[in-house]
């Protein structure tokens, strides 16, 4: 499903810069289970985010998806208008989808101290201002992520009882960590917790499945061949191996070979310049 389709005329690469044709809606990257739960709660009117509009150089950004407008919008009112529309489309998506695929990406997040609102990027990076008295770093635990996903899925099931959930874990290692740990330790912690939560939910729920894209890409069997030279970005061959395995596994469930998307040939997912990721934005700001 694509509930916020690319406007006519916009070329694919430019469309991606505006958050189109990446996911089923223009929510940008959802890194954490808490961010996902928060989006669903907001879409169904059960949550109002705090400090949801950030400013930079006279332009205004949706703090919950700052990457979808590269140069921001003209006023806070326009940001709010766009978000209202976006949430209506997300609500429709959650109510009409048969299957939701969610890739668990991070445990680390930045939160608004008093309200608990979490953001995909640290305030003050893409936009906004970092005030340590207002925002804090938080590294989500197993229990928190497990709880967030349970709450999220319960909420969606109350609106869409037949919905099923497919979980995967991102094989992309952390570029940096705010935890104070070495980034290697932080990565292993993050991936271990996310993988454990996914496994727990899979074991406990008939309508939650787990697909091992993380294992396919990172396994010693792959000998690191699925990573680019930066040892972070996944090569096209890795994406193709994952998708081939996925469709092979689901063909018996009625999948048709001809309907399989040819990911590696048409979408160069693994090249840094084509991946829409806040990390890339942060890299740019760091230069």
């Amino acid at each position: 499903m694509d509930v916020e389709p690319r406007p006519p005329g916009l070329r694919p690469k430019v469309a991606a810069q505006f958050g189109y044709k990446i996911y089923s809606a223009r929510y940008g990257n959802i890194y954490t289970a808490r961010q996902l739960k928060q989006l669903a709660q907001e879409a169904f009117g059960a949550f109002t985010p705090s400090n949801a509009i950030w400013e930079k150089d006279g332009r205004y950004y949706d703090a919950l998806r700052p990457s979808v407008e590269p140069t921001g919008l003209s006023s806070p009112e326009v940001v709010a208008d766009h978000r209202t529309y976006h949430l209506a489309q997300v609500r429709r998506l959650f109510c009409e989808a048969d299957l939701l695929i969610f890739t668990l990406g991070l445990t680390e997040t930045w939160a608004h101290r008093s309200s608990g609102t979490v953001y995909p990027t640290a305030p003050g990076t893409v936009a906004g201002t970092y005030d340590p008295s207002e925002y804090e770093f938080h590294n989500l635990t197993f229990q928190e992520i497990y709880g967030d996903l349970c709450e999220f899925f319960d909420l969606l099931k109350s609106h869409n009882p037949n919905l099923r959930l497919l979980l995967t874990v991102s094989p992309v290692p952390l570029t940096a960590t705010a935890s104070g740990e070495h980034v290697l330790r932080a990565t292993v912690y993050s991936k271990s917790v996310l993988r454990a939560v996914a496994g727990q939910l899979y074991q406990e729920n008939d309508d939650i499945d787990y697909f091992p894209s993380y294992e396919i890409v990172t396994s010693p069997l792959a000998k690191g061949a699925f990573f680019e030279a930066n040892l972070r970005s996944v090569r096209n061959e890795g994406v193709e191996a994952v998708m081939k395995t996925f469709f092979a596994a689901h063909e018996q469930d009625g999948g048709e070979e001809n309907s399989q998307p040819h990911v590696a040939k048409s979408v160069p997912l693994s090249r840094d310049d084509d991946v829409i990721c806040e990390d890339i934005l942060l890299d740019a700001f760091a230069r």
């Binding site: 916020e4 406007p7 006519p8 916009l10 430019v14 140069t71």
Partner: protein, 260 residues
Amino acid sequence: MLSRANTPSFSLNRVCVIGDSHLAAVKLGWDAIRDDFPEVELHFFGAPADHMDNIVVAEGRLAAGSDMLRKFLVKTSGGLATIDNAYSTYLICGLRFGIAKIQRLCTEYRAEGHIRDDRAPISDPCFFKCVAAGLRDTFAVRTFLKLREITDAPVTIMHMPMPSDQDTDSALARVSASVDGVLIRQAFMAASEQLARELGFSLAVQPQDTLSSHLRTKAMYALGSMKLVHGLTESHQSDDYGHMNGEYGSLVLRSWLRSS
């Protein structure tokens, strides 16, 4: 007064006019005013836009890439099947370069300053990129790029006329009648001019006095518009709001010739 993105003064002795169905108005207009420009020769090459996109570069000329296009070129030019580089200037008419190209964008999406209705909201930068990309992806621009392979002579793109204001029912007509009309026109003109500067062509803009509003042509200029494919002998249906008549053609052509 014709406005143009860049305004080099160039010789108009031999003008090659390439276009689609909108060429009919220009041809009829030329027939009406040619005596006022005795030093100018206009040579017409026309075909429906879909066919004109089959034009190819071959041996330093533009040639038909299909039998059907060849027939159209021969018929409209009076016997010539190819376009050479011997003309002093080239005028491209229509070929989808117009507001119709962004009709879906304008009726399904709204930019920041547009009326807040049930269209999908998009940012002004995104809206502008869509307009510019839509205009770039036209047969007119593709034809221009092919011309550039055979000649450095000046090229002007004359955009399609705005639709007649007799159209009051279409989605675009409703948008045009609202305050969005002025913003859409601004985006259309800015994107057209940016494209002209970037690629190096001139832009012939519809004369102001033929417009009844920002995106509408006065109905009188659509009355009796003729079809190109039937040898300028058969008129369009009365519910055709996109094509203009010879009177319009003479106005837009005279404006362009005088400003060049």
